[in-house]
Subunit: 226 residues, 2 copies
DNA sequence: ATAAGGTACTTGATGCATCTTTTTTGACGT
DNA sequence: ACGTCAAAAAAGATGCATCAAGTACCTTAT
């Protein structure tokens, strides 16, 4: 789904990094989960070296942390941290939406509509994973339309951090997740930057409510073994 | 000067990463410079492993790039990319300044004034390196005062990318680099978020002008050998 | 003198052995 | 049962050997 920086030549470490990024963003890891380099090496069928490389990059992204020198885990998320990420997203996705509203072609808008329609169907079908992916795809489309690759990368890293915390929230949220995507598309059609920005901000604040709830009231499950 | 995520336990790879970050932000690398893992390993007196780890992290930060599978270099900066980074900084440092204006204690303000005074002296003395460092320190203080560590990290990565492109620009800029820091401090004293934001935006746009000039008119020097 | 072809070298990627420290585990005593 | 402590196992860090691919250089034939 989400293609990463194609620029990088395909190493094993990039493959592993990409796979782990996908897993993270799809909520296939839970906060507290432990990662073991040797186990992952076995899963990926490589030596430990490419795994270490990928782990180090993920740690650099703060998507995983070293709780202690030998304990690699998916970190928890303090409420303050989530609120900070949300505030950053509002500024950055607001910028992306404004710029996209000025530059969007009809092809861009069509692509957004396709994603939104598929997302709708996924939610109807109760396909949580697909719904999550398509929601993310929608958000990543805006900086892409806006021609803002740096911004896109920053958001990708933020999503890497949010991934483990949104898995269950989407079920609770249901259609609320995409309700605000319609006005975004409308604003882009009208080339109305202010409206596009406001719509995406609404989406971040209101659509993201279940995520915050979960972080605050903690759907605490015991840390799993890797 | 700039302390990084203290959370990480001190590995060799973190030491190398930190050292390279410092070098990058101090403008000790030029765009086009080539990095060789074995050479760096010799310089740092380690094996190649920790160097590779650090290089991979820096590449993940897009502070260095793999021009081809065996050619690690300091990347150039397209004008569009610089403009994008500037737009992002405006949004994020604006947020930091607003929040800092609400939260700043007198101790925070004092710390800023100390940095600014030292920066002034460094510029008087023509100490380009110190001036650069203190300017960065000033900018990093705002998200710190605002209690926004995620934002701080994003900005750090952006500075990593800008580092190689600002070295000479500062000399040309001279005092213009810090002229706009005074109104920032004034706004923080008055707890005036809007004024703080505007001041920092002025700094980014006007103070950063020489950097943009250099990128556009390229102070192109031939790529050095590492 | 020049260009083609091939050889040697450079260099990052990968795998693996080993080191040190942490984590786990289980025995023991309270 | 519970906590403590020590031995054993685990796990990341580091170094290094080797691989493959790209680069540079040198030979050789025209």
């Amino acid at each position: 789904m989400a293609e990463f920086t194609i620029l990088e030549h395909e190493n094993l470490n990039s493959v592993v990094y990409g796979a782990l990024c996908d897993a993270l963003m799809q909520g296939r890891f839970q906060p507290g989960d432990r990662l073991k380099i040797r186990d992952l090496a076995e899963q990926f069928g490589t030596s430990v070296t490419p795994i270490r490389d990928a782990i180090l990059r993920l740690a650099n992204d703060e998507a995983i942390t070293f709780r202690s020198p030998r304990d690699i885990r998916i970190p928890g998320m303090a409420e303050s941290r989530y609120r900070e990420i949300r505030a950053i997203r509002i500024r950055l996705e607001g910028l992306a939406a404004e710029t996209a509203a000025q530059l969007a072609t009809s092809a861009d808008i069509h692509a957004l509509e396709v994603i939104l329609r598929e997302n709708e169907q996924a939610i109807e079908a109760g396909d949580r994973l697909k719904g999550t992916q398509l929601n993310q795809a929608f958000h990543f489309m805006l900086p892409q339309i806006a021609g803002l690759p740096v911004l896109n990368n920053i958001l990708r890293r933020l999503w890497l951090q949010m991934g483990p915390h949104i898995s269950d929230a989407y079920i609770q949220g249901g259609r609320a997740m995409i309700d605000h995507h319609y006005p975004v598309i409308e604003a882009l059609k009208r080339h109305d930057p202010a409206a596009a920005s406001m719509a995406i901000v609404d989406d971040i604040l209101l659509g993201g409510k279940p995520i915050l709830e979960r972080i605050v009231h903690g759907a605490e499950r015991p840390a799993r073994r890797a």
